[in-house]
């Protein structure tokens, strides 16, 4: 049934978008984490989406294919009093770009909302279908 497949399609997109929102939250939360368990400054993470088949349509739903780390160099900040400062007084800070993250956040949130509406429309159509013959 194609109409119930829409629930799977929109659901997969909602789950993917919420994972994206999760990485945004993680990036913003760690925007000032100068160190992490491996001793390096935190690296911004980004999700990569991939289309997956549902029903008889290829490339129908979405899933998070992988989470990649931003390879941009860390931001060097001059702060000689910082315990992690190097010999020249510079501290390596995370490569998180707050503007990029805010844009990502808004985009993920809007995409999520759109898929909720998609699901609602599909639900209304199914409910209407159930009234055939009554």
């Amino acid at each position: 049934m194609s109409l119930s497949n829409i629930f799977n399609v929109a659901g997969s997109a909602m789950s993917a978008q919420s994972q994206r929102l999760n990485t945004v939250a993680s990036n913003i939360a760690n925007a000032d984490s100068a160190t992490s368990p491996n001793g390096q400054p935190y690296k911004a993470k980004q999700v990569v989406f991939k289309a997956i088949p549902y029903g008889n349509i290829e490339d129908s739903g979405v899933k998070v294919d992988q989470i990649v780390e931003d390879q941009a160099p860390p931001k060097l900040t001059y702060d000689p009093k910082h315990p992690l400062a190097d010999a020249n007084g510079y501290v390596a800070m995370p490569n998180v770009n707050p503007v990029e993250e805010m844009v990502n956040m808004i985009s993920a949130s809007r995409s999520y909302q759109t898929n909720v509406e998609t699901m609602n429309t599909a639900k209304n159509m199914l409910m209407k279908t159930l009234t055939i013959g009554q």
Binding site: A10, I57, T114
Partner: protein, 140 residues
Amino acid sequence: MVAKLDDYLRFNETALNLRAQRQQLLASNIANADTPNYKARDINFAETLQGAMDGKSTKVPPVELARTSSGHIAGKASGDSGIGGSPLLYRTVTQGSVDGNTVDMDVERNQFTDNAVRYEAGVTAVNAQIKGLLAAIQPG
């Protein structure tokens, strides 16, 4: 008798079926609005419905390699799924994006809503047909 009832309802049933499948296709386009290299797709509804009513398929068969020896490997492209015997078409790009995605959210939302309304219109039409049948079999 039953065949006549079937014939009576066939057109609207086929149309509703195709509308539902097209709705999934449009939902896929909306869901993949942020997927890199995803190409938005749609069907030619009028042609698909015509083909489904005539029982004809306008789908292009998958390309196969010509083999001159039985030892050759059979190379076969995976055929596109298609809907109701019609191929899935790709939308013409109006404003391409850097990641190769061709989903235009305004177009997709517009088509999605339009298709949903037409689906409901189809449901209303089927209901009217059934009401007509009921009126015919009930004593005045």
